[in-house]
Amino acid sequence: MKKKITIFLILGLLIYFIDILNNDDKYTKDIYISDQEINSLVIAWESQVGRKPNQNELINILNDYIQEEILYREALALGLDENDRIIKRRLAQKITFLKQETFLEKPPIDEIINFYKSNIDLYYINPTFSFTHYFFSNEENGKKRAEVFFEQLVNKTTLSKSDPFLLGKNFAYKSSDEIDRDFGMNFSNHFNIMQTDIWSKPIQSSFGFHIVKIVDKQEGYLPDIKDIFSQVELDYANNIKEQLLEKYIMDVRAEYNIIINPNFKIE
């Protein structure tokens, strides 16, 4: 009789220890992303954007997911426990915020100046164009008329009629972005290769065809740091915050193994 009880006791202890060992699973450093998981990520993305992601976008989605998973697990390790899909994402966000808050003191001026020097493209003022144009509307056989008109310009013969353009004839100090906003279809791309004071060949816009002459080009320039100091200071602080977070993620990520099916294809 006593013997039986001992056996049960030993069995019980065994089960208990196995259980403890199994529980350790929670702290594994493997991230396994199943095909199903990827599919559901793709579907979620698609429902917001309206199309399937391309290769680069898929990599970004996965990276986001991995980042989220890592932050989630770190949060779990901190004891903020609860297994819910939404809580999971929220906890990840929370730790993101925590890591960003750690940088608060006023940064030294040298560092701000260095930041400005190494990020000049952020502050570069883009070139602007002042130009005039002849317009040939889509509504009245614009392409053909523009070609004829261009011939006449080149041969210096009498010019036929062009159309008025609703947004005007002469444009001053327009940046590439602004030109594209008014004309569409990456219209400004042509401007970079055009010479000042020479009529262009007909260029297509969303509304018809244009023969353009750049009258004046204001070269781009870099403003002095004194003039934009507060902006640089703000950008510097934001940058440090982002770096801190990135560093934190990279440090932790090194401890993880990431397992993804190498043969995965989007359905």
Binding site: Q48, I87, Q93, K161, L167, M185, D227
Partner: protein
């Protein structure tokens, strides 16, 4: 000892006397000498210059065009400082709002990206003035407001882990019950804060839930962000806020946005707690104007006003007069005709002969619980114009001679104009297609929705249709609209603000169509194909927002209309003139719609005044549209075939695009469903110009309405 006792008695005596006089004043039993009025100051009239003391940035010069450019913007944007936005999970700041407008992506409260592919030219953050900034203070569990019992429900409300779709019910409850009870809780009459409120003309001091320091700092944050992001020549911001008032009894929406013309503004916004009567708002604006701070108030959602936005009587039911008309027009030159909560051009019941009247109709009173029908008469812009003519006929002046803009009224800092990528406007509440009611609800969400709808006193939380149970949130009546557009010389505060004042504005439902509109008596001499068309039209005619006086030689007016499509949206289908007129003999107003230019070389039928069908169609399975149909621009010279020189009239332009999918259709097909059978599947995006008013010669009018006199006839 006796001395101290005397002093104490004196102090108590003075205190009680003060209270007594305040009591008399508040209860409208005015004391014979309003002595205490002399000690009152008006805190809402203190002017602050919020300009940043920055050395002038080196900038590329601002280009100016005397023929004026079209600039697009939004004058109705809420951020976390608005009480409702904060409760609906919004943490985006005014800085985020302006960054978004300039092209940066920001996050929706539910975590997805809100992109802006096409930056705007101008933007104004207009948070609710009423309790501005207070919600954030309630949510802080360690702040000084946390001692109040009612703030418990707010604690940590917008911490990231609490901003979820599931929280919509709890949020609605806070919004409808807890907040509503808290904000009307005043201190007792003897409390020193009540005396302070009285002497500062600042009722909010007397409310427990209000803290002046927090309120002013939120307003200062709005002003600072506007100053920091204002970039003359490239991007214009305006200091502004929303005056959120409604009529006392029927809950008619009388909301207005107040937009200031410079970096100068009042130290605090003047709100519905100061007065719920918009006429008092105009007095305040007049007073500020006298101190050099100009502003315009822009009414919105007249559709949800139950006929009260464009009433024919005053707030207290008195007859309107010319003084009222002048005061209103001085302060409210423009009206928001379209936004997320529906379009207020006209209603099918008001305009039975307008085939395009049934467009984005939102037929409920704004914020009504339970949802209650809003009477169309007096709620729509076209009706207001006609009422203006009637009032003028009755010699009461015309208070409804306003121009038109659109705006979004987004509450998530980023406006949503794109039908195919629509996040609506109230954060957690309408951030998903299920909550918007465009795809069927999943099992678990039916129960959740019930809780949420109960908070809004709406017993029917769902609606059963072919494909399942849908949320009956009312959001299906909302839409992806609209934009404010101006014709101004340059992209700067002065230039754009002046366009508001002269009403040289137009509204679109979110796409960037452009429309020119001129009237005159010699316009046929202008070559429509000449580059000088616009400068000649400005020279010999008047443009949108103006009056056209009668012609000595009894000539009929001519109109030049020129519209251009949005390069990223559907081509144009037709351009129309909407005419309203007053029969000066019968006093009967009427309206008529003329198609004036058709796409694809089609001609207007002279009997029906309509263009033939251009054949543009939408494929509902994938939202693709007919190719090679429609026009990139439409341009015409038009004469009114029914013109009568003796009749007052207004003319405005409506530009219609070819049909495209409505946002609700996009929501459904993206989720693999068919669009709901009870909603419009497609819409025709459109633009409206501000009207031109024709003013006849007074000799031509020979009937005098009852009560009028011949002398009074000598108007204009």
């Amino acid at each position: 000892m006796k001395y101290i006792k005397n002093v104490a008695l004196l102090v108590v005596g003075l205190y009680v006397t003060t209270l007594f006089f305040i009591y008399l004043d508040l209860e409208e039993k005015r004391p014979i000498i309003s002595l205490f009025k002399l000690f009152q100051s008006n805190s809402s009239l203190e002017v602050i210059d919020y300009a940043l003391d920055e050395t002038d940035k080196k900038k590329t010069p601002i280009s100016s065009n005397k023929d004026r450019n079209a600039y697009y913007g939004d004058l109705h944007v809420h951020t976390k400082h608005s009480f409702d936005a904060y409760i609906f999970g919004v943490t985006a700041s005014p800085d985020d709002a302006y960054s978004w407008a300039k092209g940066k992506t920001i996050k929706h409260p539910l975590g997805f990206d809100m992109k802006n592919d096409e930056p705007l030219d101008f933007y104004a953050v207009t948070d609710h003035g009423f309790f501005m900034g207070m919600m954030q203070a309630y949510a802080d569990p360690s702040g000084k407001m946390s001692n109040y019992e009612f703030t418990k429900a707010f604690h940590n409300l917008n911490d990231p882990e609490n901003v979820t779709v599931e929280s919509a019910g709890q949020r609605s409850n806070i919004f409808s019950s807890i907040l509503a009870a808290a904000i009307i809780d005043p201190y007792p009459l003897w409390h020193p804060k009540v005396i302070k409120a009285y002497f500062n003309n600042h009722t909010q001091f007397a409310l427990r839930a209000f803290d002046d320091r927090i309120h002013k700092s939120a307003w200062a944050d709005v002003a600072r962000a506007a100053e920091e992001h204002n970039d003359p020549g490239t991007f214009t911001t305006f200091l502004g806020y929303e005056y959120t008032t409604s009529s006392d009894v029927e809950g008619g929406n009388l909301h207005r946005n107040v937009i200031f013309n410079s970096s100068k503004g009042p130290i605090r916004p003047w709100t519905r707690i100061d007065s719920i009567n918009p006429e008092d708002l105009w007095t305040w604006q007049d007073n500020l104007r006298a101190k050099g701070v100009d502003s315009v108030a822009i009414p919105h959602n007249s559709n949800g006003s139950n006929g009260q936005m464009f009433e024919v009587e005053s707030f207290y039911g008195e007859a309107l007069d010319r003084e009222y008309a002048e005061k209103r027009m001085r302060n409210e030159p423009i009206v928001e005709i379209t936004q997320v909560k529906g379009t207020s051009d006209t209603h099918p019941l008001l305009s039975p002969d307008d085939e395009w009247a049934d467009f984005e109709i939102m037929d409920r009173r704004v914020g009504s619980r339970p949802p209650t029908y809003s009477m169309p008469a007096g709620s729509y812009v076209r009706d207001a114009y006609l009422r203006g003519l009637t009032l003028e006929f009755m010699l009461q002046g015309n208070p409804y001679k306003f121009g038109l803009i659109g705006s979004s009224d987004t509450h998530v800092a980023a406006a949503s104009f794109d039908e195919s990528d629509f996040w609506m406007k109230v954060g957690v509440l309408d951030g998903t297609a299920e909550n918007r009611g465009t795809v069927p609800l999943s099992e678990e969400n039916i129960g959740r929705l019930e809780e949420y709808m109960q908070a809004f006193n709406q017993p029917d939380s769902t609606k059963t249709l072919e494909q399942g149970e849908y949320a009956n949130t009312g959001f299906t009546q909302w839409g992806a609209s609209g934009l404010a557009a101006v014709w101004s010389e340059e992209n700067s505060r002065d230039s754009i603000f002046n366009a508001f004042k002269r009403k040289e504005t137009f509204a679109t439902t979110g796409t960037r169509m452009a429309v020119r509109f001129f009237a005159g008596y010699n316009l046929e001499k202008i070559d429509l194909d000449s580059d000088s068309l616009i400068s000649e039209a400005y020279e010999s005619g008047v443009t949108m927002g103006s009056e056209l006086l009668h012609n000595e030689d009894k000539r009929h007016p001519q109109f030049i209309i020129w519209a251009q499509q949005d390069k990223n949206s559907a081509p144009l289908q037709r351009v129309q003139i909407i005419k309203g007129q007053m029969n000066m003999n019968s006093g009967k107003p009427s309206e008529k719609i003329y198609d004036v230019a058709c796409s694809d070389g089609l001609e207007v039928d002279p009997i029906t005044n309509r263009c033939p069908d251009n054949g543009a169609r939408v494929n509902i399975n994938d939202c693709s549209i007919s190719k090679n149909v429609g026009a990139s621009e439409l341009k015409t010279l038009w004469e009114d075939p029914d013109f009568d020189p003796s009749q007052k009239a207004f003319y405005y332009v409506r530009v219609l695009e070819n049909p495209t999918c409505r946002w609700s259709t996009w929501d459904a097909i993206k989720a693999g469903y068919k669009p709901r059978e009870d909603l419009h599947e497609t819409i025709q995006e459109r633009a409206w110009s501000s009207p031109i008013w024709y003013i006849p010669a007074y000799e031509d009018i020979d009937v005098i309405p009852l009560g009028g006199t011949v002398e009074l006839r000598n108007f204009d």
